[in-house]
């Protein structure tokens, strides 16, 4: 393979998401000409998907660092509901409630970080458990009754204010995307996180403080999720079960995003693009079919397809270098290899999935 810098090509590879998006527009405009191709659909998608996108951006940060965060939905849910309760009970004003929700998310993120980095529990397990614990707390603070919506114009206006036909929440998403992009692509911190995620040991030996960045990435994820939860209740009112529905689209978007624009890397704009491509697909199918199960089906299939694509790409990338492999018995079968990376390092993320399955091929 000839080595070249990243060059512009119209190939189906890095822009496949854009092509798919275009295809959706054409297809659904044709199938539902009266309901789909309207400004209404655009505005609706922009504001309903803004929070999904913010949560996906939250997830992106630990994923870049090689850590899973399965508690994103639960953090958003818990923080959002808490922000509602403190207001309806007259404990805090809206600004205080927003700050509290965000702070609670941050603390939970730090807790995740502590469990992963200090207690050396794999992030997959740690955040899965954290999600369950938060669900319990949600029931404790609400008594399992849906809290009353906040009757405060400032609080609802926070997200629902109309700007050029779009609700304000869409612009929050843009701002957060810009901040995360800056962090990941334009600061040394972002580079350290990426190095940690790609190869923890190599990063450590290059002087990167891998534990610190793992901790911080989970903390940042918590902070953004806490804020996203507050935005959600401001936008659509409190509901006890909105968290879990954010989890899968976020993962689908992060993985699909890693095949887009900068293939092979989890990246901000790929993730945002993926969220909206998937949402357009869901929206269109729903308009056409009227079925209720479309979203779950679509997101599930998309997640598998996205990870599949990422794995295939990774294999292609590392195939051409032909060297005599000295490693006598690396991995020892795919199962033990994957449990090793999961169990001991706490650094594996599914973008290592490609490497793991490759080892199997070598062995």
């Amino acid at each position: 393979m000839k080595v070249t810098g990243r060059k512009f090509s119209p190939g189906l590879d890095r822009f496949s998401g854009l092509y798919l998006w275009g295809l959706f527009f054409v297809l659904f405009s044709f199938m539902a000409p009266r309901t789909f191709p309207t400004m209404n659909t655009v505005h609706l998608l922009a504001s309903t998907e803004a929070i999904a996108a913010i949560v996906a951006l939250a997830l992106l940060v630990p994923m870049v660092t090689g850590q899973f965060d399965l508690s994103i939905g639960a953090i958003a849910n818990f923080s959002g509901i808490l922000a509602v309760i403190v207001q309806t009970n007259g404990l805090l004003d809206p600004v205080g409630a927003i700050l509290l929700g965000t702070a609670v998310g941050t603390v939970i993120g730090m807790l995740n970080g502590f469990i992963v980095v200090k207690l050396k529990i794999d992030s997959f397990i740690a955040t899965l458990a954290m999600g369950s614990i938060l669900e319990a707390f949600l029931v404790i603070v609400t008594n399992n009754r849906e809290p009353l919506p906040v009757d405060n114009e400032f609080f609802t206006g926070l997200t629902q204010t109309n700007i050029f036909g779009f609700q304000a929440v869409f612009f929050y998403m843009i701002v957060i995307a810009l901040i995360v992009w800056w962090l990941l692509e334009r600061t040394p911190a972002g580079r350290y996180m990426r190095a940690t995620g790609f190869d923890r040991e190599a990063a450590r030996l290059s002087g990167v403080q891998v534990d610190k960045w793992s901790f911080l990435s989970l903390t940042i994820s918590g902070t953004i999720c806490g804020f996203a939860g507050v935005l959600f209740v401001s936008l659509t009112g409190p509901s006890l079960g909105f968290g879990p529905s954010l989890l899968l689209p976020a993962f689908a978007a992060v993985f699909l995003g890693s095949t887009q624009l900068v293939p092979g890397r989890h990246n901000v704009w790929g993730t945002v693009l993926a969220i909206f491509v998937l949402a357009t697909g869901v929206q269109g199918l729903q308009l056409v079919s009227g079925a209720q199960w479309v979203a779950s089906m679509f997101n599930g299939v998309a997640l598998i397809a996205a990870v599949g694509l990422a794995v295939v790409r990774r294999k292609k990338l590392s195939r051409p270098k032909k060297e005599k492999s000295k490693g006598k018995n690396q991995g020892g079968g795919s199962l033990s290899a994957s449990t090793q990376t999961h169990g001991t390092q706490g650094s594996s993320s599914a973008h290592h999935a490609g490497q793991v399955s490759e080892k199997r091929v070598e062995v």
Binding site: P188, A195, A203, R204, L205, K324
Partner: protein
């Protein structure tokens, strides 16, 4: 043990087997015969072709097409097929043994062979009986219910041997042991030898691959020496004086051109790097000093502590005791703090710990010191790319201009250049280079050596640990021989040569046996 007579039919007979990789001939056509019950020691330095030979016999490599033939108990081996080797009764115990340490001895013995079952259910009692038999066959007296992790190193090797010899899958005629004592503590070696002898007494031909000369005399009936892909000596051990074997091993190698010392580091100049009483993985208290501008080599057998020394100094591996100072300041034992004090460490395996394969050449180059590009709240990517391409030009990395290509897309030699550049870029006070030219071609190797000398001329204290005696002899001003985790000897000036290095390593190995 009775010396086997030549009348017996060979258990394995290797004839005209050769192997080339591209332009490199690793094995020249060679002959080797082993009779049943014979313990045959195979000696050879690193890169002599030992492992290639084992891989050919095990069916991992097909030899060059031609007249090459391997007969096991008279039947021809189907080259390139691990199944054929197994069916003909050839077993290999690799250095890493392949045991599951968290499982019991019983379970480990059943791996591969499979448990005896009745209607799909494991027959525990029969499995236990078979395990006991297998262990008895190597004279190993341990309970099959013990976990492998609880065993001593020799016992573990014994279990691997027992498993290789167990009757499942047919009669075993040939057993190959690949450096079984490389990681074994000296006091457990005798135990392993007993087990090997017990196995041989049952008629199995044993090819015993080793670095350790003394094992030949204590264990083997016959000995062969492999050098540069040739069998240069095959004899009964009683007819082979130690001097002959050493001579065969080291050979009359041509002396390579050594580095011309332009500025001999003054004996009086203060050392940059001071290592005292360093303990850790296989290290039992290492002391040495390196002065600025000096290139010091670390040479020793595998298992001597050579592999872990530099990593332990840097903090890549855990330090268990002792003290490392750079310019008088203590190192905390973490990579980040070592780098802050101006210490660079080139890891021995660029794929595992050395380089970030998915990241670009530029990102790899700048990772240890990139804060200078962060100005005004923004990473100055263009400045970073410019500086990186300057480095890549300076190091003659091919293809040119590929600063944004992922490290994985470069050839091994160019990857290594980028990684050495990454450390030269921080102008280190101390450079610790672990196998700096691992798996690179001759041209790149010479270039890398030049860069190392450049860094040294710029005043860095350089330490090179390598299995490549020629490399050490070419580049180093001073060589420290390490054995059993301590520095035992020092070579300087004209004493440094490939032959002398190997002689010293082998000799220090002799004295190890005498003292233990």
């Amino acid at each position: 043990m009775t010396a086997p007579t030549a009348v017996m039919a060979p258990a394995i007979s290797i004839a005209h087997v050769s192997k080339t990789f591209g332009p490199r001939t690793v094995l020249h056509p060679l002959e080797l015969n082993l009779v049943p019950g014979e313990i045959h020691a195979l000696l050879g330095q690193n890169g002599s072709g030992k492992s290639t030979l084992i891989k050919v016999l095990g069916g991992y490599h097909a030899p060059d097409p031609g007249r090459g033939e391997v007969l096991i108990a008279g039947k021809p081996l189907d080259f390139g097929s691990t199944k054929s080797a197994h069916e003909l009764g050839l077993r290999i115990v690799h250095q890493d043994l392949g045991l599951v340490s968290e499982s019991t001895v019983l379970d480990n013995l059943a791996i591969g062979a499979g448990f005896p079952t009745r209607f799909g259910t494991i027959r525990r009692s029969q499995a236990r009986r078979e395990a006991a038999q297998a262990l008895a066959a190597v004279g190993l007296d341990i309970s099959p219910a013990k976990r492998v992790a609880e065993l001593s190193a020799a016992q573990r090797t014994g279990v691997a041997v027992a498993r290789a010899l167990s009757r499942h899958g047919g009669k075993v005629t040939v057993l190959i042991l690949d450096e079984p004592t490389a990681t074994l503590p000296a006091r457990e070696v005798a135990h392993l030898h007993e087990m090997v002898k017990t196995a041989a007494s049952q008629g199995v031909a044993i090819l015993y691959v080793t670095h350790h000369l003394d094992e030949v005399f204590r264990l083997a009936d016959r000995v062969s020496v492999l050098r540069d892909g040739h069998i240069v000596l095959t004899r009964d051990v009683v007819d082979a004086p130690r001097e002959d074997i050493i001579h065969a091993l080291v050979g009359g190698a041509v002396e390579p051109v050594r580095r011309e010392i332009t500025d001999v580091p003054s004996e009086n100049s203060r050392p940059v790097l001071t290592v005292s009483g360093l303990q850790g993985d296989a290290l039992e208290g290492v002391d040495f000093e390196v002065r600025p501008g000096e290139i010091v080599g670390i040479y020793g057998l595998t298992g001597s502590g050579r592999e872990s020394l530099l990593g332990t100094i840097f903090g890549a591996r855990e330090r268990e005791g002792g003290d490392v100072r750079v310019d008088g300041a203590q190192l905390a034992g973490r990579p980040a703090s070592a780098i802050n004090k101006g210490v660079a460490y080139l890891a021995p395996d660029r794929k595992r710990g050395g380089g970030l394969m998915e990241m670009t050449a530029c990102e790899n180059l700048t990772l240890p010191a990139m804060k200078k590009f962060f100005r005004g709240g923004h990473l100055r990517i263009r400045a970073e790319l410019t500086e990186s391409s300057q480095w890549m030009d300076r190091l003659a990395v091919r293809p040119t201009g590929a600063v944004k290509a992922p490290l994985a897309s470069f050839s091994g030699g160019n990857q290594q250049k980028i990684l050495i550049g990454k450390w030269m870029r921080i102008s280190p006070r101390v450079m610790l280079l672990d196998e700096p030219t691992q798996g690179v071609d001759v041209g790149a190797k010479a270039q890398l050596h030049r860069y190392i000398m450049d860094a040294s001329d710029a005043g860095a204290a350089v330490v090179i640990s390598s299995t490549d005696a020629e490399e050490i002899a070419t580049v180093c001003d001073r060589v420290l021989i390490i054995r059993s985790g301590v520095i035992t000897e020092q070579l300087t000036g004209s004493d440094i040569s490939v032959a002398e290095l190997d002689r010293r390593v082998l000799r220090s190995n002799e004295s190890k046996v005498e003292t233990s």
